[in-house]
Protein backbone atom coordinates (compact mmCIF):
# COMPACT_ATOMS: atom_id res chain seq x y z
CA UNK A 1 0.00 0.00 0.00
CA UNK A 2 2.67 2.47 1.04
CA UNK A 3 4.76 1.23 -1.86
CA UNK A 4 1.89 2.01 -4.21
CA UNK A 5 1.68 5.54 -2.90
CA UNK A 6 5.42 5.93 -3.17
CA UNK A 7 5.39 4.73 -6.78
CA UNK A 8 2.50 6.95 -7.74
CA UNK A 9 4.32 9.83 -6.11
CA UNK A 10 7.44 9.01 -8.11
CA UNK A 11 5.52 8.86 -11.36
CA UNK A 12 3.85 12.21 -10.77
CA UNK A 13 7.20 13.75 -9.78
CA UNK A 14 8.73 12.33 -12.96
CA UNK A 15 5.90 13.73 -15.05
CA UNK A 16 6.30 17.13 -13.45
CA UNK A 17 10.01 17.10 -14.13
CA UNK A 18 9.49 16.06 -17.76
CA UNK A 19 7.15 18.99 -18.29
CA UNK A 20 9.56 21.37 -16.60
CA UNK A 21 12.57 20.10 -18.56
CA UNK A 22 10.60 20.38 -21.79
CA UNK A 23 9.65 23.94 -20.98
CA UNK A 24 13.22 24.81 -20.04
CA UNK A 25 14.48 23.50 -23.38
CA UNK A 26 11.80 25.42 -25.20
CA UNK A 27 12.74 28.61 -23.39
CA UNK A 28 16.49 28.14 -23.80
CA UNK A 29 16.46 27.00 -27.45
CA UNK A 30 16.47 30.45 -29.11
CA UNK A 31 19.25 31.67 -26.83
CA UNK A 32 21.30 28.54 -27.45
CA UNK A 33 20.73 28.94 -31.18
CA UNK A 34 22.03 32.50 -31.07
CA UNK A 35 25.11 31.54 -29.07
CA UNK A 36 25.85 28.47 -31.23
CA UNK A 37 25.50 30.27 -34.50
CA UNK A 38 27.59 33.22 -33.36
CA UNK A 39 30.60 30.89 -33.56
CA UNK A 40 29.86 29.69 -37.09
CA UNK A 41 30.67 31.19 -40.51
CA UNK A 42 27.87 32.68 -42.53
CA UNK A 43 27.52 29.71 -44.88
CA UNK A 44 27.11 27.29 -41.98
CA UNK A 45 24.55 29.53 -40.27
CA UNK A 46 22.22 29.19 -43.22
CA UNK A 47 23.36 25.71 -44.34
CA UNK A 48 22.86 23.95 -41.02
CA UNK A 49 21.36 26.41 -38.51
CA UNK A 50 20.74 23.71 -35.87
CA UNK A 51 24.20 22.09 -36.01
CA UNK A 52 26.78 22.67 -33.32
CA UNK A 53 29.94 24.42 -34.50
CA UNK A 54 32.48 21.68 -35.32
CA UNK A 55 36.27 21.92 -35.26
CA UNK A 56 36.35 22.76 -38.97
CA UNK A 57 33.59 25.34 -38.89
CA UNK A 58 34.23 27.16 -35.61
CA UNK A 59 35.18 30.78 -36.16
CA UNK A 60 35.35 34.04 -34.24
CA UNK A 61 34.81 36.18 -37.30
CA UNK A 62 31.57 37.63 -35.92
CA UNK A 63 33.25 38.75 -32.70
CA UNK A 64 36.13 40.11 -34.74
CA UNK A 65 33.81 42.28 -36.79
CA UNK A 66 31.89 43.49 -33.77
CA UNK A 67 34.97 44.44 -31.80
CA UNK A 68 36.64 46.12 -34.79
CA UNK A 69 33.85 47.93 -36.49
CA UNK A 70 31.30 49.09 -34.00
CA UNK A 71 32.19 51.10 -30.95
CA UNK A 72 30.95 48.16 -28.94
CA UNK A 73 32.51 49.08 -25.59
CA UNK A 74 30.91 52.47 -25.78
CA UNK A 75 27.50 50.89 -26.47
CA UNK A 76 28.02 48.60 -23.52
CA UNK A 77 28.83 51.52 -21.31
CA UNK A 78 25.70 53.38 -22.47
CA UNK A 79 23.49 50.37 -21.80
CA UNK A 80 25.01 49.83 -18.41
CA UNK A 81 24.64 53.50 -17.39
CA UNK A 82 21.01 53.57 -18.47
CA UNK A 83 20.09 50.26 -16.85
CA UNK A 84 21.87 50.82 -13.55
CA UNK A 85 20.68 54.41 -13.12
CA UNK A 86 17.08 53.52 -14.02
CA UNK A 87 17.21 50.59 -11.63
CA UNK A 88 18.56 52.78 -8.85
CA UNK A 89 15.85 55.41 -9.29
CA UNK A 90 13.11 52.79 -9.60
CA UNK A 91 14.12 51.17 -6.34
CA UNK A 92 14.72 54.46 -4.52
CA UNK A 93 11.50 56.21 -5.53
CA UNK A 94 9.55 52.95 -5.60
CA UNK A 95 10.52 52.20 -2.01
CA UNK A 96 9.64 55.69 -0.85
CA UNK A 97 6.25 55.65 -2.56
CA UNK A 98 5.52 52.13 -1.40
CA UNK A 99 6.37 53.06 2.19
CA UNK A 100 4.06 56.05 2.06
CA UNK A 101 1.22 53.98 0.62
CA UNK A 102 1.62 51.06 3.00
CA UNK A 103 2.46 52.97 6.17
CA UNK A 104 0.40 56.14 6.33
CA UNK A 105 -3.32 56.70 6.28
CA UNK A 106 -4.15 59.78 4.27
CA UNK A 107 -7.05 60.79 2.03
CA UNK A 108 -6.52 59.53 -1.50
CA UNK A 109 -4.22 56.71 -0.43
CA UNK A 110 -6.22 54.01 -2.20
CA UNK A 111 -6.81 56.25 -5.20
CA UNK A 112 -3.08 56.82 -5.69
CA UNK A 113 -2.47 53.09 -5.27
CA UNK A 114 -5.04 52.34 -7.98
CA UNK A 115 -3.57 55.01 -10.23
CA UNK A 116 -0.17 53.36 -9.95
CA UNK A 117 -1.62 49.93 -10.70
CA UNK A 118 -3.08 51.39 -13.87
CA UNK A 119 0.47 52.26 -14.85
CA UNK A 120 1.21 48.52 -14.97
CA UNK A 121 -1.69 47.94 -17.35
CA UNK A 122 -1.14 50.78 -19.82
CA UNK A 123 1.97 50.28 -21.98
CA UNK A 124 4.22 53.35 -21.88
CA UNK A 125 4.95 53.00 -25.59
CA UNK A 126 1.47 54.32 -26.36
CA UNK A 127 2.80 57.69 -25.28
CA UNK A 128 5.91 57.60 -27.43
CA UNK A 129 4.97 60.58 -29.58
CA UNK A 130 4.18 62.71 -26.56
CA UNK A 131 7.34 61.61 -24.79
CA UNK A 132 9.45 62.42 -27.86
CA UNK A 133 7.90 65.89 -28.15
CA UNK A 134 8.49 66.47 -24.44
CA UNK A 135 12.12 65.35 -24.59
CA UNK A 136 12.78 67.54 -27.61
CA UNK A 137 11.31 70.63 -25.92
CA UNK A 138 13.31 69.86 -22.79
CA UNK A 139 16.43 69.57 -24.91
CA UNK A 140 16.91 66.01 -23.73
CA UNK A 141 16.69 64.31 -27.12
CA UNK A 142 19.71 62.13 -27.81
CA UNK A 143 20.78 61.99 -24.17
CA UNK A 144 21.06 58.97 -21.89
CA UNK A 145 19.16 60.97 -19.27
CA UNK A 146 16.04 60.86 -21.45
CA UNK A 147 16.20 57.07 -21.50
CA UNK A 148 16.78 56.91 -17.74
CA UNK A 149 13.71 59.09 -17.13
CA UNK A 150 11.49 57.01 -19.39
CA UNK A 151 12.62 53.69 -17.95
CA UNK A 152 12.21 54.95 -14.40
CA UNK A 153 8.64 55.94 -15.21
CA UNK A 154 8.10 52.58 -16.89
CA UNK A 155 9.40 50.54 -13.96
CA UNK A 156 7.92 52.50 -11.04
CA UNK A 157 4.32 51.20 -11.05
CA UNK A 158 5.35 47.56 -10.73
CA UNK A 159 8.00 48.42 -8.15
CA UNK A 160 5.55 50.38 -5.98
CA UNK A 161 2.93 47.66 -6.27
CA UNK A 162 5.26 44.79 -5.30
CA UNK A 163 7.11 46.67 -2.57
CA UNK A 164 4.01 48.05 -0.88
CA UNK A 165 2.65 44.50 -0.64
CA UNK A 166 5.88 43.35 0.97
CA UNK A 167 6.10 46.36 3.28
CA UNK A 168 2.62 45.70 4.61
CA UNK A 169 4.05 42.45 6.01
CA UNK A 170 6.79 44.21 7.98
CA UNK A 171 5.67 44.22 11.60
CA UNK A 172 4.16 47.48 12.86
CA UNK A 173 5.74 46.84 16.23
CA UNK A 174 9.21 47.02 14.68
CA UNK A 175 8.53 50.41 13.08
CA UNK A 176 6.91 51.69 16.27
CA UNK A 177 9.84 50.50 18.38
CA UNK A 178 12.10 52.52 16.10
CA UNK A 179 9.85 55.57 16.50
CA UNK A 180 10.03 55.26 20.28
CA UNK A 181 13.81 55.06 19.90
CA UNK A 182 13.70 58.35 18.00
CA UNK A 183 14.58 57.17 14.49
CA UNK A 184 13.35 59.39 11.68
CA UNK A 185 10.91 58.05 9.12
CA UNK A 186 13.70 58.05 6.52
CA UNK A 187 15.99 56.01 8.77
CA UNK A 188 13.14 53.60 9.47
CA UNK A 189 12.58 53.13 5.74
CA UNK A 190 16.18 52.81 4.61
CA UNK A 191 17.82 51.15 7.60
CA UNK A 192 15.02 48.99 8.94
CA UNK A 193 12.35 48.26 6.35
CA UNK A 194 14.42 47.98 3.17
CA UNK A 195 16.79 45.32 4.55
CA UNK A 196 13.75 43.29 5.62
CA UNK A 197 12.14 43.47 2.15
CA UNK A 198 15.39 42.67 0.32
CA UNK A 199 13.83 39.73 -1.57
CA UNK A 200 11.22 42.09 -2.99
CA UNK A 201 13.93 44.45 -4.20
CA UNK A 202 15.78 41.61 -5.92
CA UNK A 203 12.57 40.52 -7.62
CA UNK A 204 11.91 44.03 -8.89
CA UNK A 205 15.53 44.46 -9.94
CA UNK A 206 15.49 41.37 -12.14
CA UNK A 207 12.07 41.93 -13.62
CA UNK A 208 12.70 45.57 -14.54
CA UNK A 209 16.36 45.26 -15.49
CA UNK A 210 15.93 42.76 -18.34
CA UNK A 211 13.32 44.68 -20.35
CA UNK A 212 15.34 47.89 -19.99
CA UNK A 213 18.54 46.24 -21.18
CA UNK A 214 16.78 44.56 -24.09
CA UNK A 215 14.68 47.54 -25.16
CA UNK A 216 15.13 48.71 -28.71
CA UNK A 217 12.18 51.05 -29.01
CA UNK A 218 13.11 54.01 -26.86
CA UNK A 219 16.82 54.09 -27.78
CA UNK A 220 15.73 54.11 -31.40
CA UNK A 221 13.23 56.93 -30.87
CA UNK A 222 14.85 59.04 -28.19
CA UNK A 223 18.58 58.47 -28.49
CA UNK A 224 19.58 57.09 -31.86
CA UNK A 225 22.74 59.22 -32.09
CA UNK A 226 26.12 57.50 -32.25
CA UNK A 227 27.27 58.75 -28.84
CA UNK A 228 24.17 57.56 -26.98
CA UNK A 229 23.58 54.26 -28.78
CA UNK A 230 22.82 51.32 -26.50
CA UNK A 231 23.92 47.73 -26.98
CA UNK A 232 20.70 46.50 -28.60
CA UNK A 233 20.60 49.47 -30.92
CA UNK A 234 24.27 48.99 -31.71
CA UNK A 235 23.64 45.38 -32.73
CA UNK A 236 21.05 46.63 -35.21
CA UNK A 237 23.69 48.55 -37.11
CA UNK A 238 24.86 45.23 -38.55
CA UNK A 239 21.41 44.66 -40.00
CA UNK A 240 21.18 46.44 -43.30
CA UNK A 241 18.36 46.86 -45.72
CA UNK A 242 20.07 44.62 -48.28
CA UNK A 243 22.98 42.92 -46.56
CA UNK A 244 22.94 41.72 -42.98
CA UNK A 245 26.13 40.63 -41.27
CA UNK A 246 24.59 37.81 -39.31
CA UNK A 247 27.88 36.79 -37.73
CA UNK A 248 28.26 40.20 -36.21
CA UNK A 249 24.60 40.48 -35.15
CA UNK A 250 24.68 37.14 -33.37
CA UNK A 251 28.04 37.88 -31.79
CA UNK A 252 26.82 41.25 -30.52
CA UNK A 253 23.66 39.68 -29.09
CA UNK A 254 25.71 36.97 -27.38
CA UNK A 255 27.92 39.60 -25.79
CA UNK A 256 24.83 41.49 -24.68
CA UNK A 257 23.63 38.49 -22.70
CA UNK A 258 26.74 38.37 -20.49
CA UNK A 259 26.17 41.39 -18.19
CA UNK A 260 22.53 40.43 -17.63
CA UNK A 261 23.62 36.94 -16.72
CA UNK A 262 26.07 38.29 -14.16
CA UNK A 263 23.52 40.66 -12.61
CA UNK A 264 20.92 37.91 -12.58
CA UNK A 265 23.21 35.53 -10.74
CA UNK A 266 23.88 38.28 -8.19
CA UNK A 267 20.18 38.77 -7.52
CA UNK A 268 18.93 35.22 -8.05
CA UNK A 269 19.23 33.87 -4.50
CA UNK A 270 17.20 36.76 -3.15
CA UNK A 271 14.87 36.50 -6.15
CA UNK A 272 13.90 32.91 -5.45
CA UNK A 273 13.09 33.81 -1.85
CA UNK A 274 11.02 36.72 -3.10
CA UNK A 275 9.02 34.63 -5.55
CA UNK A 276 8.33 31.81 -3.13
CA UNK A 277 7.41 34.28 -0.38
CA UNK A 278 4.78 35.72 -2.67
CA UNK A 279 3.60 32.31 -3.89
CA UNK A 280 3.31 30.59 -0.55
CA UNK A 281 1.60 33.48 1.20
Amino acid sequence: MTQGIARRFQISTLAAHLVLIGFTLLALAPTLLVIMNSFKPRKEIFGAPLALPSFETITLIGYDTVLKRGDILHYFQNSLIVTVCALFFIILFGAMAAFALSEYRFPGNRLIGLFLVMGIMVPIRLGTVGILKLMVSLGLANTLFALILVYTAQGLPMAVFVMSEFMRQVSDDLKNAARVDGLSEYTILFRLVLPVVRPAIATIAVFTMVPIWNDLWFPLVLAPGESTRTMTLGAQSFIGQFITDWNAVLAALTLAIVPMLILYLMFSRQLIRGITAGAVK
Partner: protein, 366 residues
Protein backbone atom coordinates in the same frame (compact mmCIF):
# COMPACT_ATOMS: atom_id res chain seq x y z
CA UNK B 1 8.11 62.60 38.39
CA UNK B 2 6.65 59.54 36.66
CA UNK B 3 3.10 60.77 36.94
CA UNK B 4 0.83 60.08 33.99
CA UNK B 5 -2.40 61.98 33.47
CA UNK B 6 -4.93 61.52 30.69
CA UNK B 7 -7.48 64.28 30.26
CA UNK B 8 -10.56 63.54 28.17
CA UNK B 9 -8.80 61.33 25.63
CA UNK B 10 -11.00 60.12 22.79
CA UNK B 11 -10.32 58.63 19.41
CA UNK B 12 -12.46 58.25 16.32
CA UNK B 13 -11.74 56.83 12.89
CA UNK B 14 -14.19 58.62 10.64
CA UNK B 15 -17.61 57.98 12.14
CA UNK B 16 -16.41 55.12 14.34
CA UNK B 17 -15.66 56.07 17.92
CA UNK B 18 -13.05 53.60 19.17
CA UNK B 19 -12.31 55.40 22.45
CA UNK B 20 -14.83 57.35 24.45
CA UNK B 21 -13.52 60.05 26.80
CA UNK B 22 -10.91 58.43 29.01
CA UNK B 23 -9.75 60.29 32.13
CA UNK B 24 -6.99 58.76 34.18
CA UNK B 25 -4.59 59.73 36.92
CA UNK B 26 -1.63 57.40 37.42
CA UNK B 27 0.54 58.04 40.47
CA UNK B 28 4.33 57.87 40.35
CA UNK B 29 5.49 54.26 40.65
CA UNK B 30 2.04 52.80 40.14
CA UNK B 31 1.48 49.62 38.10
CA UNK B 32 -1.65 50.08 35.98
CA UNK B 33 -3.08 47.25 33.89
CA UNK B 34 -5.54 47.97 31.10
CA UNK B 35 -7.57 44.85 30.42
CA UNK B 36 -10.41 44.01 28.08
CA UNK B 37 -11.43 41.74 25.22
CA UNK B 38 -9.82 42.25 21.82
CA UNK B 39 -11.02 45.35 20.02
CA UNK B 40 -11.98 47.15 23.24
CA UNK B 41 -9.61 50.06 22.52
CA UNK B 42 -6.94 49.19 25.11
CA UNK B 43 -4.10 49.04 22.59
CA UNK B 44 -5.30 52.25 20.95
CA UNK B 45 -5.18 53.95 24.34
CA UNK B 46 -1.63 52.72 24.93
CA UNK B 47 -0.55 53.90 21.48
CA UNK B 48 -1.99 57.32 22.24
CA UNK B 49 -0.01 57.49 25.50
CA UNK B 50 3.10 56.47 23.54
CA UNK B 51 2.45 59.04 20.83
CA UNK B 52 2.30 56.43 18.08
CA UNK B 53 -1.27 57.39 17.35
CA UNK B 54 -2.98 60.78 17.62
CA UNK B 55 -5.92 61.29 19.93
CA UNK B 56 -8.99 63.03 18.49
CA UNK B 57 -9.48 65.05 21.65
CA UNK B 58 -7.80 65.37 25.02
CA UNK B 59 -4.37 65.75 26.56
CA UNK B 60 -1.59 63.44 27.70
CA UNK B 61 0.58 64.68 30.57
CA UNK B 62 3.71 62.82 31.63
CA UNK B 63 5.66 64.04 34.65
CA UNK B 64 3.52 67.19 34.68
CA UNK B 65 4.48 68.05 31.11
CA UNK B 66 1.87 68.24 28.32
CA UNK B 67 3.34 65.87 25.72
CA UNK B 68 0.23 65.67 23.52
CA UNK B 69 2.06 67.01 20.49
CA UNK B 70 5.49 65.51 21.19
CA UNK B 71 6.89 62.58 19.17
CA UNK B 72 7.25 59.26 21.04
CA UNK B 73 10.99 59.67 21.57
CA UNK B 74 10.52 62.96 23.42
CA UNK B 75 7.77 61.81 25.78
CA UNK B 76 9.93 60.07 28.36
CA UNK B 77 8.34 56.71 27.66
CA UNK B 78 9.68 53.31 26.68
CA UNK B 79 7.60 50.55 25.20
CA UNK B 80 7.78 46.76 25.15
CA UNK B 81 5.89 45.17 22.27
CA UNK B 82 4.04 41.90 21.91
CA UNK B 83 6.24 40.69 19.04
CA UNK B 84 9.42 41.91 20.83
CA UNK B 85 10.17 44.12 17.78
CA UNK B 86 13.93 43.78 18.10
CA UNK B 87 15.99 45.13 15.21
CA UNK B 88 16.84 41.91 13.35
CA UNK B 89 20.10 43.20 11.84
CA UNK B 90 21.60 44.45 15.13
CA UNK B 91 23.17 42.51 17.99
CA UNK B 92 21.58 42.59 21.43
CA UNK B 93 24.03 45.34 22.36
CA UNK B 94 23.09 47.28 19.21
CA UNK B 95 19.43 46.90 20.08
CA UNK B 96 20.00 48.25 23.57
CA UNK B 97 22.06 51.25 22.50
CA UNK B 98 20.35 52.42 19.29
CA UNK B 99 17.85 54.69 20.99
CA UNK B 100 20.48 56.34 23.20
CA UNK B 101 22.86 56.82 20.28
CA UNK B 102 19.99 58.37 18.34
CA UNK B 103 19.50 60.85 21.18
CA UNK B 104 23.28 61.63 21.09
CA UNK B 105 23.85 60.40 24.62
CA UNK B 106 27.46 60.45 25.82
CA UNK B 107 29.27 57.15 25.31
CA UNK B 108 30.13 56.80 29.00
CA UNK B 109 26.49 57.21 29.99
CA UNK B 110 25.40 54.67 27.36
CA UNK B 111 27.90 52.13 28.72
CA UNK B 112 26.66 52.76 32.24
CA UNK B 113 23.01 52.33 31.30
CA UNK B 114 23.69 49.16 29.29
CA UNK B 115 25.70 47.68 32.16
CA UNK B 116 22.78 48.40 34.48
CA UNK B 117 20.23 46.73 32.18
CA UNK B 118 22.52 43.76 31.61
CA UNK B 119 22.90 43.31 35.36
CA UNK B 120 19.17 43.55 36.06
CA UNK B 121 18.14 41.16 33.31
CA UNK B 122 21.22 38.86 33.21
CA UNK B 123 21.80 39.57 29.52
CA UNK B 124 25.59 39.27 29.65
CA UNK B 125 25.87 35.98 27.65
CA UNK B 126 23.77 37.33 24.78
CA UNK B 127 25.26 40.77 24.18
CA UNK B 128 27.02 39.86 20.93
CA UNK B 129 24.21 37.69 19.54
CA UNK B 130 21.51 38.68 17.11
CA UNK B 131 17.80 38.39 17.99
CA UNK B 132 17.42 35.46 15.57
CA UNK B 133 19.70 33.38 17.78
CA UNK B 134 17.66 33.93 20.95
CA UNK B 135 14.62 32.11 22.36
CA UNK B 136 11.29 33.85 22.88
CA UNK B 137 11.86 34.51 26.58
CA UNK B 138 15.36 35.86 25.96
CA UNK B 139 14.07 38.15 23.21
CA UNK B 140 11.43 39.53 25.52
CA UNK B 141 14.10 40.22 28.13
CA UNK B 142 16.16 42.10 25.55
CA UNK B 143 13.05 44.09 24.64
CA UNK B 144 12.57 44.96 28.31
CA UNK B 145 16.27 45.84 28.50
CA UNK B 146 15.85 48.21 25.58
CA UNK B 147 13.13 49.94 27.60
CA UNK B 148 15.22 50.08 30.79
CA UNK B 149 18.24 51.80 29.21
CA UNK B 150 16.05 54.72 28.22
CA UNK B 151 15.35 55.48 31.91
CA UNK B 152 11.79 56.41 31.00
CA UNK B 153 9.34 58.11 33.30
CA UNK B 154 6.68 55.65 32.21
CA UNK B 155 7.08 52.06 30.97
CA UNK B 156 4.46 50.88 28.47
CA UNK B 157 3.83 47.17 27.91
CA UNK B 158 1.69 46.01 24.98
CA UNK B 159 0.64 42.41 25.70
CA UNK B 160 4.26 41.39 26.30
CA UNK B 161 3.47 37.80 27.27
CA UNK B 162 1.09 36.83 24.47
CA UNK B 163 3.76 35.28 22.27
CA UNK B 164 5.26 33.13 25.04
CA UNK B 165 4.18 29.61 25.96
CA UNK B 166 2.34 29.04 29.22
CA UNK B 167 5.29 28.02 31.41
CA UNK B 168 7.48 30.88 30.22
CA UNK B 169 4.60 33.29 30.60
CA UNK B 170 4.42 32.70 34.35
CA UNK B 171 8.17 33.13 34.66
CA UNK B 172 8.36 36.39 32.69
CA UNK B 173 5.28 37.66 34.52
CA UNK B 174 7.11 37.15 37.80
CA UNK B 175 10.18 38.91 36.33
CA UNK B 176 8.07 41.91 35.34
CA UNK B 177 6.53 42.10 38.82
CA UNK B 178 10.02 41.88 40.31
CA UNK B 179 11.29 44.56 37.91
CA UNK B 180 8.51 46.92 38.95
CA UNK B 181 9.36 46.41 42.60
CA UNK B 182 13.07 47.06 42.01
CA UNK B 183 12.81 50.05 39.66
CA UNK B 184 9.78 51.56 41.36
CA UNK B 185 8.84 52.96 37.96
CA UNK B 186 5.40 53.87 36.66
CA UNK B 187 4.14 51.12 34.38
CA UNK B 188 1.13 50.84 32.10
CA UNK B 189 0.46 47.31 30.95
CA UNK B 190 -2.09 46.19 28.37
CA UNK B 191 -3.40 42.64 28.29
CA UNK B 192 -6.51 40.64 27.45
CA UNK B 193 -5.72 38.13 30.19
CA UNK B 194 -7.49 38.90 33.47
CA UNK B 195 -5.09 36.63 35.40
CA UNK B 196 -2.14 38.82 34.36
CA UNK B 197 -4.17 41.87 35.28
CA UNK B 198 -5.14 40.57 38.73
CA UNK B 199 -1.64 39.37 39.64
CA UNK B 200 0.40 42.36 38.44
CA UNK B 201 -1.71 45.44 38.93
CA UNK B 202 -1.91 48.03 41.64
CA UNK B 203 -4.98 49.25 39.81
CA UNK B 204 -6.85 47.75 36.86
CA UNK B 205 -8.73 49.56 34.13
CA UNK B 206 -11.39 47.34 32.58
CA UNK B 207 -12.40 48.43 29.10
CA UNK B 208 -15.06 47.26 26.70
CA UNK B 209 -16.27 48.76 23.44
CA UNK B 210 -13.97 51.78 23.80
CA UNK B 211 -15.47 52.71 27.17
CA UNK B 212 -13.79 52.48 30.56
CA UNK B 213 -16.02 50.15 32.56
CA UNK B 214 -14.31 50.42 35.93
CA UNK B 215 -11.03 51.51 37.49
CA UNK B 216 -9.98 49.97 40.78
CA UNK B 217 -7.70 47.64 42.68
CA UNK B 218 -7.95 43.95 41.84
CA UNK B 219 -9.93 43.23 45.00
CA UNK B 220 -12.33 46.13 44.41
CA UNK B 221 -13.06 44.81 40.94
CA UNK B 222 -13.54 41.32 42.25
CA UNK B 223 -15.73 42.25 45.18
CA UNK B 224 -17.70 45.15 43.84
CA UNK B 225 -17.84 44.95 40.04
CA UNK B 226 -19.48 48.13 38.72
CA UNK B 227 -21.47 46.33 36.07
CA UNK B 228 -22.30 42.94 34.59
CA UNK B 229 -19.39 43.13 32.11
CA UNK B 230 -16.74 43.62 34.78
CA UNK B 231 -18.42 40.94 36.89
CA UNK B 232 -18.12 38.30 34.18
CA UNK B 233 -14.71 39.44 32.89
CA UNK B 234 -12.86 39.40 36.20
CA UNK B 235 -12.50 36.07 37.98
CA UNK B 236 -12.07 32.60 36.57
CA UNK B 237 -14.26 30.68 36.08
CA UNK B 238 -16.53 33.63 35.40
CA UNK B 239 -19.39 34.80 37.59
CA UNK B 240 -22.71 33.02 37.03
CA UNK B 241 -25.36 35.37 35.69
CA UNK B 242 -28.95 34.30 36.36
CA UNK B 243 -31.98 36.37 35.27
CA UNK B 244 -34.67 37.08 37.84
CA UNK B 245 -37.07 39.60 39.35
CA UNK B 246 -36.63 41.49 42.57
CA UNK B 247 -39.16 43.21 44.79
CA UNK B 248 -39.60 43.89 48.48
CA UNK B 249 -36.33 42.34 49.46
CA UNK B 250 -36.99 39.04 47.70
CA UNK B 251 -35.27 37.88 44.52
CA UNK B 252 -37.17 35.34 42.43
CA UNK B 253 -35.06 33.42 39.96
CA UNK B 254 -37.08 32.08 37.04
CA UNK B 255 -38.45 28.70 38.00
CA UNK B 256 -35.74 27.75 40.45
CA UNK B 257 -36.30 29.51 43.70
CA UNK B 258 -36.34 32.60 45.90
CA UNK B 259 -33.50 34.36 47.68
CA UNK B 260 -33.42 37.25 50.11
CA UNK B 261 -31.88 40.35 48.58
CA UNK B 262 -31.35 44.07 49.02
CA UNK B 263 -34.57 46.07 49.25
CA UNK B 264 -33.15 48.61 46.79
CA UNK B 265 -33.63 46.21 43.89
CA UNK B 266 -36.91 46.31 42.02
CA UNK B 267 -38.06 44.77 38.77
CA UNK B 268 -36.04 42.75 36.25
CA UNK B 269 -32.49 42.11 37.44
CA UNK B 270 -29.53 39.88 36.70
CA UNK B 271 -28.19 38.03 39.72
CA UNK B 272 -24.45 37.46 39.73
CA UNK B 273 -23.03 34.73 41.93
CA UNK B 274 -19.40 33.56 41.83
CA UNK B 275 -18.77 29.78 41.69
CA UNK B 276 -17.57 29.85 45.29
CA UNK B 277 -20.71 31.67 46.45
CA UNK B 278 -22.77 28.48 46.49
CA UNK B 279 -23.09 25.69 48.96
CA UNK B 280 -24.24 22.36 47.47
CA UNK B 281 -26.88 20.39 49.38
CA UNK B 282 -28.89 17.31 48.46
CA UNK B 283 -32.04 17.92 46.39
CA UNK B 284 -35.25 19.01 48.12
CA UNK B 285 -33.64 21.51 50.49
CA UNK B 286 -34.45 25.20 50.62
CA UNK B 287 -32.62 27.03 47.82
CA UNK B 288 -32.16 26.78 44.06
CA UNK B 289 -33.13 23.39 42.64
CA UNK B 290 -30.95 21.93 39.91
CA UNK B 291 -29.32 18.87 38.41
CA UNK B 292 -25.59 18.10 38.20
CA UNK B 293 -24.62 17.78 34.54
CA UNK B 294 -20.82 17.69 34.69
CA UNK B 295 -17.89 17.71 37.10
CA UNK B 296 -14.39 19.01 36.39
CA UNK B 297 -11.70 17.64 38.70
CA UNK B 298 -8.64 19.90 39.07
CA UNK B 299 -6.79 18.22 41.93
CA UNK B 300 -6.97 20.86 44.63
CA UNK B 301 -10.58 21.70 43.82
CA UNK B 302 -13.28 20.82 41.36
CA UNK B 303 -16.10 22.60 39.58
CA UNK B 304 -19.64 21.31 39.14
CA UNK B 305 -21.85 22.37 36.29
CA UNK B 306 -25.43 22.49 37.51
CA UNK B 307 -28.49 23.06 35.33
CA UNK B 308 -31.17 25.04 37.15
CA UNK B 309 -34.89 24.38 36.64
CA UNK B 310 -35.21 27.16 34.02
CA UNK B 311 -32.31 25.74 31.95
CA UNK B 312 -29.59 28.18 33.08
CA UNK B 313 -26.28 26.38 33.65
CA UNK B 314 -24.15 27.61 36.56
CA UNK B 315 -20.63 26.69 37.63
CA UNK B 316 -20.16 25.81 41.29
CA UNK B 317 -16.94 25.45 43.26
CA UNK B 318 -16.71 22.24 45.30
CA UNK B 319 -14.25 20.08 47.22
CA UNK B 320 -12.21 17.82 44.93
CA UNK B 321 -13.84 14.69 46.41
CA UNK B 322 -17.41 15.91 46.58
CA UNK B 323 -19.21 12.66 45.74
CA UNK B 324 -22.04 14.23 43.69
CA UNK B 325 -23.07 12.14 40.69
CA UNK B 326 -24.05 13.24 37.20
CA UNK B 327 -27.84 13.67 36.85
CA UNK B 328 -28.19 13.87 40.63
CA UNK B 329 -30.70 16.50 41.81
CA UNK B 330 -29.11 19.03 44.15
CA UNK B 331 -30.02 22.25 45.91
CA UNK B 332 -27.73 25.27 45.72
CA UNK B 333 -27.79 27.50 48.75
CA UNK B 334 -26.26 30.95 48.59
CA UNK B 335 -23.52 31.70 51.09
CA UNK B 336 -24.32 35.00 52.80
CA UNK B 337 -22.89 38.12 51.14
CA UNK B 338 -22.30 36.51 47.77
CA UNK B 339 -25.09 38.02 45.72
CA UNK B 340 -24.38 40.77 43.19
CA UNK B 341 -27.41 42.39 41.57
CA UNK B 342 -27.28 44.15 38.25
CA UNK B 343 -30.00 46.03 36.42
CA UNK B 344 -31.24 43.69 33.69
CA UNK B 345 -31.31 46.46 31.09
CA UNK B 346 -28.31 48.69 31.79
CA UNK B 347 -26.18 45.99 33.44
CA UNK B 348 -25.21 48.49 36.16
CA UNK B 349 -24.64 47.33 39.70
CA UNK B 350 -27.58 47.95 41.99
CA UNK B 351 -26.35 49.88 44.98
CA UNK B 352 -26.29 48.52 48.54
CA UNK B 353 -25.49 45.09 47.20
CA UNK B 354 -23.49 43.18 49.78
CA UNK B 355 -19.76 42.71 49.42
CA UNK B 356 -18.55 39.46 48.08
CA UNK B 357 -17.39 37.15 50.84
CA UNK B 358 -14.19 38.35 52.44
CA UNK B 359 -12.53 34.99 51.89
CA UNK B 360 -9.61 34.72 49.46
CA UNK B 361 -10.50 34.16 45.85
CA UNK B 362 -10.19 30.40 45.93
CA UNK B 363 -12.08 29.98 42.69
CA UNK B 364 -9.32 31.46 40.57
CA UNK B 365 -7.36 29.10 38.38
CA UNK B 366 -4.25 30.24 36.62
Amino acid sequence: MGKLVLEGISKRFGAVEVLKTVDLDVADGEFIVIVGPSGCGKSTLLRIIAGLSDQSTGKVLIGGRDVSSQPPSKRGIAMVFQSYALYPHLTVEGNLTLGLKQARTAASLIAERVAEAVRILALEPFLKRRPGELSGGQRQRVAIGRAIVRHPEVFLFDEPLSNLDAALRNQVRAEIADLHRRLGATMVYVTHDQVEAMTLADRIIVMNGGIVQQIGTPSELYRRPANAFVATFIGSPGMNMVPGTAGGGVLTLAGSGRLPCSAAANGAVTAGIRPNGFEVLPGGNDGLAGTVIASEYLGAESFLRVRLADGTVVTVHEHPDHGWLIDQPVTLRLRPGNLHLFDAESGLRIAEGPDAAAQPAAARVA
